[in-house]
């Protein structure tokens, strides 16, 4: 197998060395990497001719010579962590750094550590799942991640284990002299009846950083997972992230994606409700300004009967920013009693901002309830007047209402410390004033 060729593509540079290099790769992983490399080479970078990439251009990435980030010889100094009371895994440029992580006190029956290590030492935990949950099989950046990732995190939670504190995954990108890709890869396996909360944050980098973060989450029967993604970064890195979720019977998944900054962000979230009675709640909030571009692509696939899905994505757009929301609900034949709802609401603070909101329903069962709604608008002048008539000036009134719009999503965060942090982060992005802090 080692003689099989790796297709040539600038973004695949280094894959051959990875497969042939010292230490090698476990057989299953090497094979999946080769397949993924071939798949990426065949797909190439998406162009706007692709239906799913119509509003988000990435071909400019080919203008740069990208290098996959090496394991940093020196550790970056980190700002304060998001959560004081959490298990913490810190990944720098795609490499897990145990020196910065904090894992004591994890209960029995949990593995939390380097994905590359686990693939070698605990293949029985990794092999059944990694790059196996193929809802995004035709997604080129998922293929790129599988071919190219160096390391990342495995969080494996044994059956019946309940994590009482959140697990924080901090993905840190350093600044580099030349264009650099970091490909943190995360695999979370929540065993039967287990329960966990994961807070995934991404910070750092520069305009010459490409962060291709791919996360796979498997919820076995009855598992409960809350997963929050925080993209709160003003350094202009390009984020191409994907989250693939596979749910077993009666499992419950809650996701919150909070995009508060960055340059170009494309976030794909695919959930497959594969066991009867599973439910998925997918919340999102994006705050954009300047020339930011945020694209949220959601795919919720109901493959089993009696599952529930809820999508609530809200956006606040300022400046000349762009947002794309594409929400696809797919109901397979036999997925009767499906209850699927989707809502995308956008608030435009500037006349130069633009939203593309595109709901898609494909229903192949006959006894289902599916609804979707999409709004794009400005602040309600009746509400502005109401607040002003009580003594708040116009700027404060507008801020209060903008906050109120965002709060619906922020208040759904189930980790109090994270919710507070998000409140502050959102408020910090609103212009002015002490007044609004007092009001909310």
């Amino acid at each position: 197998m080692a003689t099989a060729t790796v297709p040539s593509h600038p973004l695949l540079a280094g894959v051959k060395a990875l497969l042939d290099g010292p230490g090698g790769q476990p057989g299953f992983l090497a094979e999946r990497r080769r397949q993924a490399a071939a798949s990426f080479a065949e797909l190439g970078l998406p162009t706007r001719a692709w239906e799913e990439w119509r509003f988000t251009g990435v071909t400019h990435l080919e203008e740069k010579q990208w290098t996959v980030a090496e394991r940093a010889p020196q550790l970056p100094s980190l700002a304060d962590p998001s959560l004081a009371d959490a298990h913490r895994l810190v990944v720098v440029d795609g490499w897990l750094r145990p020196e910065l992580s904090q894992l004591h006190g994890l209960p029995e029956g949990v593995f939390a550590g380097s994905l590359a290590d686990a693939a070698i030492r605990r293949p029985e935990l990794v092999e059944p799942h990694l790059a196996r949950h193929a809802a995004l099989a035709d997604h080129p950046f998922v293929a790129l991640s599988t071919a190219q990732f160096r390391d990342g995190v495995l969080l494996w939670i044994g059956a019946g284990t309940v994590l009482d504190r959140p697990v924080e995954l901090r993905l840190v990108a350093r600044r580099h002299q030349r264009p650099t890709i970091a490909l943190p890869r995360v695999l979370i396996v929540a065993g039967r009846g287990s329960q966990a909360t994961v807070v995934h944050s991404s910070v750092g980098g520069s305009a010459d950083t490409l962060i291709c973060a791919v996360t796979e989450i498997v919820l076995e029967d009855g598992a409960v997972v809350d997963h929050y993604t925080m993209l709160d970064d003003d350094h202009g890195a390009t984020h191409l992230t994907a989250l693939e979720v596979r749910q077993g019977r009666d499992s419950s998944f809650h996701s919150g994606v909070f995009a508060l900054g960055g340059g170009l962000l494309r976030n794909d979230l695919a959930v497959t409700l594969g066991g009867a009675g599973a439910d998925a709640t997918l919340d999102g909030l994006y705050l954009t300004s300047g020339h930011q571009h945020v694209d949220n692509h959601l795919l919720v696939r109901h493959s089993a009967a009696g599952c529930t899905s809820r999508q609530l994505y809200k956006g606040i757009l300022d400046g000349s920013s762009r947002a794309v929301f594409n929400g696809r609900i797919l109901v397979d034949p036999g997925a009767q009693k499906t209850d699927a709802r989707q809502s995308n609401r956008n608030l435009l603070l500037s006349s130069a901002a633009l939203v593309q909101s595109n709901p898609q329903l494909e229903i192949l069962a006959d006894d289902v309830r599916c609804t979707h709604g999409s709004t794009i608008g400005r602040l309600d002048e009746d509400a502005v007047f109401y607040l002003r008539s009580r003594g708040l000036d116009r700027a404060a009134a507008e801020n209060v209402l903008t906050w109120a719009f965002a709060a619906e999503v922020v208040d759904r965060i189930r980790v109090p410390e994270l919710r507070d942090r998000l409140r502050h982060a959102v408020l910090a992005r609103l212009p002015s004033s002490e007044l609004i802090r007092e009001v909310v």
């Binding site: 008539s389 209402l401 906050w403 007092e438």
Partner: protein, 258 residues
């Protein structure tokens, strides 16, 4: 000098004239009722006085405490002691009723050069005023009007009024949709604010509220003009006779309150 003085006020929205020359004078210590059929311009009058910018004043003037009211923004009017109880209070999810009210009160107090109320003093005031409108304490913590029943929204308006203690209160059909118990509560709230330095303008479609808030003067607004002014008995007369016997006539501009 009048607290509020309207002279020949003409108001249009989107080119359509709604108010066609209103003269009205309200002194401190008085309660005036403005009655009239639907579409007569009652709510327009309330909104214009509160500073809604969509309405265009095409002629006339409004003086409030000796100043040109029309030059002031809505928030400046509020800080100068004018309050409008909305016919349709707006729901604001995500903003706590208490915190909003505290921000409003402190905006008014700092405009007057008074120190801001701290949380403890504010809560004391709020609890006291809540009694007045028998508002359930849970509505304090909830977002402003969010999920409130119709009656709760109206009582919340009166509660805001009781906390902000306006010099001139304008009630825009606060009585509509209220049962008799809620109506009495609203009336108690308004009556408790009566005083020699304050005045109220009570806009209503029905005479019913005026059994509990006894007005000093009643004006009838029809087709953008005040066609009749009188004392409390005018309201009773309207209750029996309806509005039909009053023909809108341009010459009937009322000499209000005199």
């Amino acid at each position: 000098m009048s607290l509020l003085e309207l002279k020949n006020l003409h108001v249009a929205i989107e080119g359509k004239e709604i108010l066609k020359g209103i003269d009205l004078s309200v002194n401190a210590g008085e309660v005036h009722a403005i009655m009239g059929p639907n579409g007569s311009g009652k709510s327009t009058l309330a909104q214009v006085l509160a500073g809604r910018e969509e309405y265009e004043v095409t002629a006339g003037e409004v003086r409030y405490r000796g100043r040109n009211l029309l030059e002031l923004h809505a928030e400046e009017r509020a800080r100068e002691g004018l309050f409008l109880a909305f016919q349709y209070p707006v729901e604001i999810p995500g903003v706590s009723n208490t915190y909003f009210l505290r921000a409003a009160l402190n905006a008014i107090r700092s405009h007057r050069g008074e120190p801001e109320l701290d949380a403890i003093d504010f809560l004391k005031l709020v609890r006291e005023r809540m009694q007045l409108v028998k508002l359930d304490e849970s509505l304090l913590k909830r977002p402003v009007n969010d999920g409130f029943s119709g009656g709760e929204k109206k009582r919340n308006e009166i509660f805001h009024m009781a906390v902000l203690e306006p010099i001139l209160a304008i009630l825009d059909e606060t009585d509509s949709g209220l049962d008799i118990d809620a109506l009495k509560i609203v009336a108690d709230g308004v009556n408790s604010l009566r005083g020699p330095d304050r005045a109220s303008l009570v806009i209503t479609h029905y005479q019913r509220l005026l059994n509990y808030i006894v007005p000093d003067f009643v004006h009838v607004l029809m087709d953008g003009r005040i066609v009749r002014s009188g004392g409390r008995e005018l309201a009773l007369h309207l209750e029996e006779q309806g509005y039909e016997w009053l023909e809108p006539e341009p010459s009937a501009a009322a000499v209000a309150g005199r």
